[in-house]
């Protein structure tokens, strides 16, 4: 594979960019693979890449019913952070953050990971108690997260209104400086290119219609719109559609799928330096490299596989954004969209074995899946290769809903992912 570099770009510039090759191959499926991964999002493609790179398993196909990166990978607001509360969450998100830090170099693909800082605003005593609990837990776990006074928060994010007369005045903020954003499409494309280069087949426009199992109950392959594809192992990582895929193997999961909406403003010159989240008023916002304000809205209340949602969800978020940043009332919304997230009862992901032999699942990332991409992919590859979870993902197993060992970040902190 041709290495990407400034020199390569310069060389191509001189000859009309005629020399670039396809970033990934578009092969016809083989009869059988060692591993079939369902879902070519960041998690699935990344898992394939790490299977090839770290476990030497290259006879792998990632199958995708649409276009790769077209699910939640390409629809989210790209926030990256690891300052979660519980050990299980801190472990996996910090593992992910460390991989983010070197991902462009590892993939030879600029994913534009930008550690511009993620700041969570505290508006009342309860917020402060909760955020300080995070700050302390993070520090003792070895994760950066610091408490800022309102003045320090304003210095870090000048557009912030910290006047005491605001409806929800700001009494401090928690800041993770290593948190930030990345370019979502580049993550999918970078993994696809790097995986394809190592021999992985990325098969787009190939819809899974069934999961075939042998007499021992173990999986033998998938029925797809391109015919039967044999598989010794299957990993399912299909974000909002995990319930549907897993039902094909008669596995029921504690998931519900709801549309999560987001929007961008028209592009403007740099005005907003970091990522700001406010749980009390339900808003998060950053500015993209193109200059658009990227704003995450809430989920609709009902199960839905439609990638649209109600206008009231958007307006509710904008209420809060404009209350925090009254200057933005004259800014215009340019595009709104939705993605389908699959959510667990404790808002933490499930990654692990299933009751079906050789069928592995990676689901329930809810609204927090993007930031987990490299970490989740890396550990999912380990799970598929070894048949048992890596210790960093050992807490994310399915049995916790039976035993009650929940990882309830939401209940503990009421912090939106």
């Amino acid at each position: 594979m041709r290495k990407y570099s400034v020199f390569a770009v310069a060389r191509e510039a001189m000859r009309g960019h005629k020399g670039w090759e396809a970033q990934w191959a578009s092969p016809e499926p083989r009869k059988e693979y060692d591993v079939v991964i369902v879902g070519a999002g960041g998690h699935g493609l990344g898992a394939a890449y790490y299977l090839a790179k770290e476990h030497g398993i290259t006879n792998v196909a990632v199958i995708e019913k649409g276009w790769l990166g077209g699910g939640n990978t390409g629809r989210n607001t790209t926030i990256i952070r690891s300052n979660y509360l519980y050990d299980e969450s801190m472990d996996i998100y910090e593992h992910s953050l460390k991989l983010w830090e070197g991902l462009s170099q590892d993939l030879n693909y600029n994913v534009m990971y930008s550690p511009r800082g993620v700041m969570m605003l505290s508006h009342n005593v309860h917020d402060k108690q909760s955020f300080q609990r995070h700050v302390h837990a993070n520090r003792l776990h070895g994760i950066d997260n610091e408490w800022l006074t309102p003045e320090q928060a304003k210095a870090y994010c000048p557009p912030l209104d910290i006047s005491a007369t605001a409806r929800y005045p700001i009494n401090g903020a928690a800041l993770q400086r290593r948190g930030g954003t990345a370019r979502h499409d580049a993550v999918a494309w970078g993994y696809a290119r790097a995986a394809s280069d190592r021999g992985v087949h990325v098969i787009q426009n190939c819809e899974v219609k069934g999961i075939r199992r042998g007499q021992d109950g173990a999986v033998t392959g998938v029925e797809t719109s391109k015919g039967f594809i044999g598989a010794k192992k299957i990993g399912v990582s299909a974000s909002g559609h995990n319930s549907v895929i897993m039902a094909m193997a008669d596995v029921k999961l504690p998931l519900h799928s709801v549309p999560l909406q987001a929007l961008v403003s028209e592009p403007m010159k740099p005005i907003f330096p970091c990522v700001v989240m406010s749980n009390s008023v339900h808003a998060y916002i950053s500015q993209s490299d193109k200059g658009e304000l990227v704003i995450g809205a809430g989920t609709d209340q009902y199960n839905s596989y439609s990638q649209t949602g109600g206008l009231q969800i958007i307006t509710h978020t904008l209420d809060a954004i404009c209350e925090l940043f009254p200057m933005f009332r004259r800014v215009k919304m340019m595009r709104q969209w939705g993605g389908i997230t699959d959510n667990t009862p404790d808002r933490s992901a499930i990654q692990g074995v299933t009751p079906v032999p050789n069928l592995f699942v990676n689901c329930g990332w809810g609204t927090g899946g993007f930031k987990a991409t490299p970490g989740s992919a890396h550990l999912f590859a380990y799970l598929i290769a070894r048949g048992e979870p890596h210790k960093l993902a050992a807490g994310l197993t399915l049995d916790r809903f039976r035993t009650g060992r929940l990882i309830d970040e939401a209940a503990a902190a009421a912090v939106a992912h």
């Binding site: 069934g210 109600g310 206008l311």
Partner: protein
């Protein structure tokens, strides 16, 4: 924003007046104290999350206050029926139950990009 028919108010009202209540027809076991951990997990956590026809609960919380059930398509968000709590699932002629064997085509949810 949905327009939801409330079977008690006998008219369609804005979603703003309603709160979603999860899956319908999941009865709390009468002997709940005695069921197994697995049965409790089934009752409290595991859900079909169907793509297509779903039977779900709504509460007209800012209206008549009543819980009721509805049948809706989770792909088109179209309602097929609303009925009072306690009534059985209605017959829905012509409506296929959601099934993993008949996954919607990609275009149905995703516009027309291929």
């Amino acid at each position: 924003m949905l327009l939801i028919y409330c079977p008690y108010c006998e008219e369609e009202r804005s979603e703003l007046e309603f709160r979603h209540g999860g899956d319908a027809h999941i009865a709390r076991p009468a002997n709940i104290a005695d069921i197994t951990d697995e049965a409790f997990q089934d009752y409290f956590f595991l859900r079909d999350n169907p793509k297509g026809l779903i039977f779900e609960r709504w509460r007209h919380i800012h209206g008549c206050g009543r819980f009721f059930n509805a049948a809706r398509d989770t792909v088109s968000d179209r309602f097929f029926a609303s009925y009072k709590a306690g009534e059985p699932k209605p017959d829905l002629p012509g409506v296929a139950p959601a099934s993993e064997k008949t996954v919607e085509t990609y275009e149905a949810t995703e516009g027309n990009a291929q």
